[in-house]
């Protein structure tokens, strides 16, 4: 081992940035796995352009991967990097603004050529002109050192050798932060097993990076971050999209019915389709359909046949699926619609995150068409959200939205994996026999005779003798399901459908408030992927001695039964959202509480600092306008 000094740190934020073709996502993924294996808690944020390969070396082509890891509980991918790995001038320029002074920059000097500098508008080389004085810069000729280290690989072209530079960078960073590389080695063996020289070159580049850190004087210090104290259990690292795919598969398995996915490729949801298409062994059927409408149509058709039909998409796809979702509401059949939200309107920001489909999910259909909505709060929580959505869909025979987003989809975190047998039971009962009698006392099947508790109608699937029936999008007579244009019946059916969704509240539990002091006057209420940033901000505000309460909504339709009561308990309620205030609008309308909306639509998650500032300013307002409130409550 080296004689270099080792420092202990409690947390680090690293950002790998390079050209789309530089393999930064892979490098980040590998570093994440190494970090997870070491037992740090972590959170990641990939950030990549919508173009597959934007022109090389340009700002639009920059792809980055940020990782926050610590010896304690990590809630966000981190506001600002402590270390930036910049593979070219574009990566430096695009990310420097986020980098606090004093942070470390590891720059690939080989790419800082006149031409590349010119591409992004640098007149002089920032590595040499002193403009980076306030940062700690390590200039490393990453490309040429990699090529040199691979000199003996005669069969490989220079280009192939250059391509391994991301493994060199990974090796260097692994040395700096004492990460084990054996996981990456076996990963590479699997990936390049059929190309032995490429495999050997990548392994050699990785080792060269480790050795470079060890031997070069420029890197005098390496760092250790002790494992985080995490609850006992078996952990893995997981992204939101993968957790959703596994969650849906597990839910169908628990319910004992087939999972059928009808989908159409769309960013950032396509990975769920890819993953589920590989789950055939678990009985999962996937259909890549001709369009978004067909995707949800196929799913609904499968649900009619007794499967749990699922469709996965993003906002523009939801717009196309609306009519079919309305049909699902009218037919009262289970259906799960996964909306991995992205920046809108229209094509918007396909690879960036946003929470702006809440009102679309809530109201984006013709007629009175209530659909339950479930929103996961973190990448791993997507698993539980999938289970919950399938539970609601099958129990209440209704379409259900899962509102994930780009941040959850691609971000990752450690997950204490559950045991299938210990998950909540899920039972699906199909109708098997007549449920009513006709005027002559003869047994008959009435497809809209409801369960008294849930108001769910029976699910009678084709193949069940004696229960042959027709359903359709035309209004149905209560109980018999025959076509009915009767005014009173339509009024009744509309209220029954709404009442059924309202009753779900009886099965979801109360909204829980986290207020350790029990004396907070201000509540921060969020939903979906803002959980981590809000919790981190609340923690930082509390650390400064202030009192603030936090609650987070998983169910957005219906809201938990005590939501109004919780809102009214506080002087002020702050509702941060990555949209223009959609939850705030719903809360104000439903509970007549004047919540404070705090919004941002930058395609990125909130930073802890900006949220903490918003909380503090509301606390100050509260203290200014209601100075007695502390005393009264004390």
């Amino acid at each position: 081992m080296s004689s270099k000094s080792v420092q202990q740190l409690d947390r680090v934020v690293i950002r790998f940035a390079g050209d789309s073709g530089d393999g930064m996502q892979l490098t980040g993924d590998r570093f994440t796995s190494e970090t997870a294996a070491l037992g740090n808690d972590l959170s990641t944020l990939p950030n990549f352009p919508a173009e597959i390969r934007a022109p090389q070396g340009t700002l639009p082509g920059v792809s980055s991967f940020q990782l926050h890891f610590a010896d304690h509980d990590v809630l966000t991918p981190g506001d600002a990097p402590d270390v930036l790995v910049a593979m070219n001038p574009a990566a430096l320029k695009a990310n420097l603004g986020d980098l606090p002074r004093g942070a470390t920059i590891i720059a690939n000097t080989d790419e800082f050529t006149k031409r590349n500098l010119g591409k992004v508008g640098y007149d002089a080389n920032p590595l040499e002109d002193g403009s980076l004085e306030s940062w700690h810069v390590h200039p490393v000729a990453l490309t040429s050192i990699t090529v040199e280290a691979l000199a003996e690989f005669d069969t490989l072209s220079r280009k192939d050798k250059e391509r391994a530079k991301n493994m060199f960078a990974l090796g260097l960073l692994s040395w700096m932060y004492h990460r084990p590389t054996n996981g990456t080695e076996s990963f590479l063996r699997k990936k390049f097993g059929s190309k032995p020289d490429i495999l050997a070159a990548n392994l050699a580049a990785l080792t060269a990076g480790l050795n470079y850190g060890e031997t070069t004087e420029d890197f005098a210090v390496s760092y250790e971050i002790a494992p985080a104290k995490m609850a006992p259990g078996t952990y893995r690292n997981i992204t939101g999209n993968l957790a959703l795919a596994i969650g849906l598969t597990t839910a169908a398995h628990r319910a004992g019915i087939p999972l059928v996915l009808g989908s159409y490729p769309i960013t950032p949801a396509s990975d769920i389709l890819h993953t589920l298409s590989g789950f055939k062994r678990y009985g999962v059927t996937t259909m890549q359909c001709e369009d978004e409408i067909a995707g949800v149509g196929a799913a609904l058709g499968a649900s009619f046949g007794g499967a749990i039909g699922v469709t996965t998409t993003s906002g523009p796809g939801v717009a196309l699926k609306s009519e079919t979702i309305g049909l699902g509401v009218s037919l009262e059949l289970p259906l799960v619609i996964v909306d991995v939200q992205r920046g809108g309107p229209s094509t918007g920001l396909p690879t960036k995150t946003e929470q702006s489909d809440l009102l679309q999910a809530m109201f984006g259909r013709n007629g009175e068409s209530p659909v339950p909505i479930v929103a996961p709060r973190s990448p791993a929580d997507c698993f539980d959200a999938a289970l919950e959505a399938v539970r609601i869909a099958t129990t209440y025979r209704t379409p259900v939205f899962i509102l994930s987003d780009g941040y959850l989809a691609n971000g990752s975190e450690p997950w204490a994996v559950p045991k299938v047998a210990e998950l909540p039971a899920m039972t699906v009962e199909f109708a098997t026999e007549p449920n009513d009698t006709d005027a002559d006392g003869k047994p008959v099947f009435h497809p809209f005779k409801r369960d008294e508790k849930t108001l769910a109608r029976p699910w009678a699937v084709p193949g069940t003798s004696g229960l042959e029936h027709r359903v359709g999008g035309i209004e149905k007579a209560n109980i018999t399901g025959n076509i009915s244009y009767d005014p009173d019946n339509h009024d009744l059916m509309t209220r029954l459908r709404a009442g059924k969704v309202e009753r779900i509240a009886e099965s979801i539990g109360d909204l829980e408030v986290d207020d350790p002091s029990g004396e907070a006057n201000v509540l921060v209420l969020g939903w979906g992927s803002t959980y981590g940033p809000i919790a981190a901000a609340v923690r930082s505000v509390r650390n400064s001695g202030a009192k603030v309460a936090q609650a987070h909504l998983r169910h957005l339709n219906p809201f938990p039964a005590n939501t109004g009561e919780v809102l009214r308990r506080y002087d002020r309620v702050l509702v941060p959202e990555m949209n223009m205030g959609q939850l705030a609008l719903l809360l104000r309308a439903k509970y007549l509480v004047d919540v404070h909306s705090f919004t941002q639509v930058r395609g990125l998650p909130f930073t802890t600092v900006e949220l903490a500032d918003a909380i503090v300013s509301l606390l100050e307002d509260d203290a200014a306008t209601d100075p007695t409130s502390e005393e009264v409550r004390a």
């Binding site: 059927t285 058709g301 084709p462």
Partner: protein, 365 residues
């Protein structure tokens, strides 16, 4: 795909193979058993009545368990059809029936799935789903009622209306060039494409029989009269004095011919690579076109579909194409079954535990 496509055995039941059948000695179902208790609400004289009667009369011939038959429809007059049949049924939304039926048929190989649609439903708003069902060759029988008009919305021209159609939305005549549904289906890689007519019960029933026997997507265009908004659209070929001279009955393996005995015309190839009808006596050395439903290439079937003109001088009727191609739903099911089989059977809790854990785990004590 491996050579084993998981295709169920062929005849006698290829299209309905895998669907539970009545016991050999069970009494034959009746038309009445397939008639629901719902009052039929089409306009008096509508061609849909005849088609409904033919279908209700034909379904018992399949010998399938009634509960394993599903009719899915879209929106339009014809799409009310499922309500009148005592099977499982879904009256869905405009144009989407083929997509919904694809999901149902793929996930349930034990069902006989039928789609009922119209010219507006299938060819306008739902055109995309129709062509993709055909190219995938999902095991569905699609009955396309073509009345060349929008009936339910009260009389606008449709994608099969002739150019110049004066209708509610085209007071000066429509300028849209129409689709020929048979040409469209053949172009979309349809494996079974046929045309028949509401008023010819016998022909309709025979086409239905062959459509149901075909494994894959069967597209049956049914000329259907709408007495309210487009009355007499098919009179030229319904009129007994004219129909013999106009209807070209397609018979597999026979020369393509039209006209009564004594005034018969036969279809021959022209030097330019086209086709034309010539009097039987003038055929001479010319090559007669012999109908071949199973021809691997749809070229000749397509050419036959082009004989049809708005003037209805010659209207081919019958089965244009009937070829075997692996179906989408069989192959999708086969892939899942193969994967489950290779893995040693349906997943257990511990298989799922393994999936959840993934390959890269660590333990905190």
């Amino acid at each position: 795909m491996s050579t084993d496509l998981g295709m169920p055995g062929t005849s006698p039941t290829a299209g309905t193979a895998g669907v539970p059948r009545l016991a050999e000695d069970a009494p034959k179902q009746t038309k009445k058993e397939f008639t629901s208790d719902q009052e039929v609400r089409w306009c008096p004289g509508c061609g849909d009545y005849a088609i409904l009667a033919a279908v209700q009369g034909f379904l018992p011939d399949l010998g399938l368990k009634r509960e394993n038959i599903v009719f899915v429809s879209g929106i339009g007059c014809s799409s009310r059809f499922p309500y009148y049949l005592d099977t499982y049924g879904m009256h869905s939304i405009h144009g989407r029936a083929p997509a919904i039926a694809t999901g149902l048929a793929t996930s349930r190989g034990d069902l006989s799935v039928w789609v009922v649609t119209g010219d507006g439903d299938a060819l306008s708003i739902g055109g995309n789903h129709l062509i993709h069902a055909l190219r995938r060759n999902v095991n569905l029988t699609i009955l396309l009622f073509n009345n060349q008009i929008y009936g339910l919305t009260k009389g606008q021209y449709s994608p099969t209306s002739e150019v110049g159609k004066i209708a509610k939305s085209t007071p000066m005549g429509s300028v849209d060039h129409p689709f020929n549904p048979v040409s469209l289906a053949l172009g979309a890689e349809g494996t079974f494409v046929a045309r028949t007519m509401d008023s010819d019960r016998k022909h309709l029933t025979e086409v239905l029989r062959q459509a149901a026997e075909h494994r894959g997507t069967s597209l049956v265009e049914i000329y259907q009269n709408c007495p309210i908004f487009n009355d007499g659209a098919f009179d030229l070929i319904k009129d007994r004095t004219q129909q013999e001279a106009r209807i070209v009955h397609l018979v597999d393996g026979e020369p393509v011919a039209v006209g009564p005995e004594g005034d018969r015309k036969v279809l021959v190839r022209t030097d330019g690579g086209g086709m034309e009808f010539v009097p039987e006596s003038e055929v001479g050395e010319r090559e007669v076109v012999v109908h071949d439903v199973a021809a691997p290439e749809p070229t000749q079937a397509f050419a036959l579909s082009r004989l049809d003109t708005p003037e209805m001088t010659h209207v081919p009727m019958g089965i244009f194409r009937n070829v075997d191609r692996p179906t989408y739903d069989d192959q999708v099911r086969h892939q899942v079954e193969a994967a489950v089989g290779t893995a040693g059977g349906p997943p257990t809790d511990s298989d799922l535990d393994e999936l959840i854990r993934g390959r890269d785990t660590w333990t905190v004590a």
